[in-house]
Subunit: 218 residues, 2 copies
């Protein structure tokens, strides 16, 4: 899919599941007053969306931010597959727990943190998730995020993102690379600075879940 194309549209009925192979996308909701809130960014390896399994109306849209390669699975077939493959079931459970964790973290960020720390957290999370999905782990964020995207993630305005980012750059925590990509110069320093729990999403995938679910078809 090309940038700007919708994988899924608010209020549309879903009956498939997507798996992002490459490229970035975003889940977002558009409000009546023209505002937008991005709920979560989707990186390679992410699943979208459980809602598809229960064949209901989507409460948000999903839009490609870069060219995206994805794998589409019919909901019915997927449920059948779950039946025969406990490992798949365990993966799904794992992925759901991960996603809920990301959503919760997002709530805390938006609800109780300053603009500066919100932004630091967002960048730290993206760098970490990118690495988990096989991307670079050196602090460079693969794709260029517009100020508007960051603003709509964090409940701020593009103008204020611009200012806050300048601050972080001034303090040597973040640098601006070619093509508008961002780099966290020193991940640990920024994490300390921003009270970021480095164990978050660091969870090794515990195999006992796999074992158990392999028998249980969870």
């Amino acid at each position: 899919m090309e940038p700007g194309q919708c994988l899924m549209r608010q209020a549309e009925e879903m009956n498939a599941l997507f798996w992002i192979e490459s490229g970035w996308a975003m889940r977002h909701r558009n409000l009546a007053n023209g505002r937008r809130q991005i709920l979560n960014l989707l990186l390679p390896g992410d699943i979208c969306d459980l809602q598809g399994l229960i064949h209901t109306r989507a409460d948000h849209s999903v839009t490609a931010m870069t060219p995206v390669m994805l794998c589409e699975v019919d909901a019915g077939r997927f449920l059948d597959l779950l039946h025969n493959d406990g490992q798949l079931a365990a993966s799904l459970l794992w992925s759901v727990v991960q996603e809920e964790g990301i959503l919760r973290e997002h709530i805390v960020r938006i609800g109780r943190r300053s603009a500066r720390i919100r932004l630091a957290h967002l960048l730290l999370e993206l760098v970490r998730r990118q690495a988990l999905g096989g991307g670079p782990s050196d602090g460079l964020i693969e794709i260029a995020l517009t100020r508007e995207v960051m603003a709509d993630c964090l409940g701020l305005t593009p103008v204020h993102i611009s200012r806050t980012l300048s601050e972080l750059r001034r303090d040597g925590l973040v640098t601006l690379e070619p093509q508008g990509r961002l780099r966290i110069s020193d991940i640990d320093a920024l994490a300390r600075h921003a009270d970021y729990d480095t164990r978050y999403l660091h969870l090794a995938r515990p195999d006992h879940v796999l074992d158990r679910a392999g028998g249980a078809q969870a």
Copy 2:
């Protein structure tokens, strides 16, 4: 459990699942700077928590707000039960989708709405969820919420909640009942006023999911 008791504590290892039979509880995270963000309120009928299934460290606490009766299920036994009971599996899937919807709604509220509308949304959601769980559906919120609880839900301060609530009362949208409980005088009026999607969580539970999962042990 008594009010103030923890069902689950941040950073503690979980290997059980709870089902709330009666009473209200809250999921929350406490930050290093002493602030608190409530992630979600748990009402009768809610499940807490999927994280328990994969035996990992909790990233948040759960605390009883009223006396709470709950049903505790060992994670391993639950996974075994899933094996034999497709209906249970479907219920779980359903409940996960519901919960993710609630979390997403919360993000939009906190990220892109004014204090007044945030509060209206919170109250509307509670009234709706309460009714879904068998509680009153006439607009009365069963339990007295402190201003601080509402503030920590919505990313605001108790002082500002107090002011905002006064406004809503002045405008005749909400009334204060005995024992500090709140009542939405006219649910539809408030929903219109607050651009609240009344279809949200109104989702009838589709039986085809049950059927399918009954065979598939999803």
